[in-house]
């Protein structure tokens, strides 16, 4: 049953697709020939230990980094091969929620949300005002529209940034570690917002996170990455039943397993004996 569900999700039309992507920084290989699909209208999560390049993947999809080889297709456009102007055109239909929120510090919350609308449209100011108020209402911050970003709490800043990222009703929204550093209430609010916005706006969402519980609660499909590749993918149920030790260690948060607790070293006995010489 779950296998069928997973197959049907995976076979749906993909809005974003990575095909045989290899990416390295200097001599260090981050991704070695990986292929992923992000189905249209679904929430897909990428999980994995810190430092394996989850955020890098979002930057690759957004065209801020270029892969060494492989194709990155967003709504049929191959991002690495696009001209600058074509890339900017594709970016108008995608949006990214940054870990820090990345609100413009010299503007009020209202102006922050209005910024993309004013930049990309020539709508009259009263229409812009209505649009901004509706977006702020959706994230529960209509009353905070005149505050400056410095006056917001971490959770509020992320919600304001979420309102800004949906200002132009994008097709794709990418969340970079949306739950990091949030208290349980803010976390619950964000989980609900992401789920509700995804279904009401028919968005395609990509969430990068290592908050296993929250991600498993909302994601339709999950990829777990480690060691430069995808080590497991499927629906929540499939991953919980996975027989991969690496996947199980990650999901259960065990300190020791295929990813060892100890950094590679000689045996303790050998090390102590060496010290006495």
């Amino acid at each position: 049953m779950t296998k069928n569900l997973s197959d049907s999700i995976h076979q749906q039309e993909a809005l974003v697709e990575l095909k045989n992507v290899t990416f390295s920084r200097g001599d260090r290989v981050i991704y070695d020939d990986i292929s992923l699909k992000f189905p249209k209208g679904k929430i897909t999560a990428i999980m994995g230990p810190s430092g394996i390049g989850k955020t890098t993947m979002l930057r690759l999809i957004g065209g801020q980094l270029m892969p060494d080889t492989g194709d990155i297709l967003v709504a049929g456009s191959n991002i690495p091969k696009l001209s600058r102007s074509a890339l900017y055109k594709v970016r108008e239909k995608m949006s990214m929620l940054f870990q820090s929120g990345a609100l413009f510090t010299d503007m009020t919350v209202f102006d922050n949300v209005a910024f993309p609308i004013r930049e990309h449209t020539t709508l009259p100011e009263d229409v812009v005002r209505t649009m901004v108020l509706l977006k702020l209402e959706a994230v529960g911050l209509r009353g905070a529209r005149d505050l400056m970003p410095a006056e917001l709490s971490g959770g509020m800043a992320r919600r304001a940034a979420l309102a800004r990222s949906i200002a132009l009703d994008p097709d794709l929204i990418m969340f970079d570690e949306p739950f990091v550093g949030q208290d349980p209430i803010s976390m619950g609010v964000l989980v609900r917002l992401i789920r509700d916005l995804n279904s009401s706006l028919n968005l395609t969402s990509i969430i990068v996170s290592h908050d296993v519980k929250e991600v498993m609660e909302i994601a339709d499909y999950l990829y777990i990455m480690a060691d430069k590749r995808v080590i497991g993918h499927g629906t929540t149920e499939e991953l919980l039943e996975s027989d991969s030790e690496l996947v199980q260690q990650f999901l259960r948060g065990e300190a020791d397993g295929p990813v060892p607790f100890h950094f590679a070293a000689d045996s303790l006995q050998q090390d102590i004996m060496m010290g006495s010489k």
Binding site: Q64, Y88, R91, E92, S95, F98, Q99, A102, T105
Partner: protein
Amino acid sequence: MKALQSLGKNTIEKMASIGRATALLIGAIFGRFNIFKAFPLFIKQIYVVGVQSLIIILVSGLFIGMVLALQGYTVLIDYGAEDSLGPMVSLALLRELGPVVTALLFAGRAGSALTAEIGLMKATEQLTSLEMMAVDPIKRVVAPRFGLVSLVCQS
């Protein structure tokens, strides 16, 4: 062989770095920006980089003038030409030293303030978020500031 490889790699990296810096400079000089959207930024920056730099430039000018007057007086009095002190100080300060001192202090004060501002935007991912909103940060952030600083410095 390794030394040759390393030389080639370093050369390519240096050339790429020079290329990026040149592209940034060209973008800053020729980047077309919307004057209407940049107008509030213009007003704010004229105050920050122009008006707020005036105090330090005036104080420096005052002290340089005082030093010139003091030293000039001790020399000119030997020749009975102390009447020429006023024109000498004013001409030397306004015509010759003025632009140099203004440029140096302006570059130091306003340049560092702008660098800190843009650096903070970079560190807090504001520039990345501009790029992701399909807004070119060079046209929206760098070019207006570059144009304005050139304008303020001229005047």
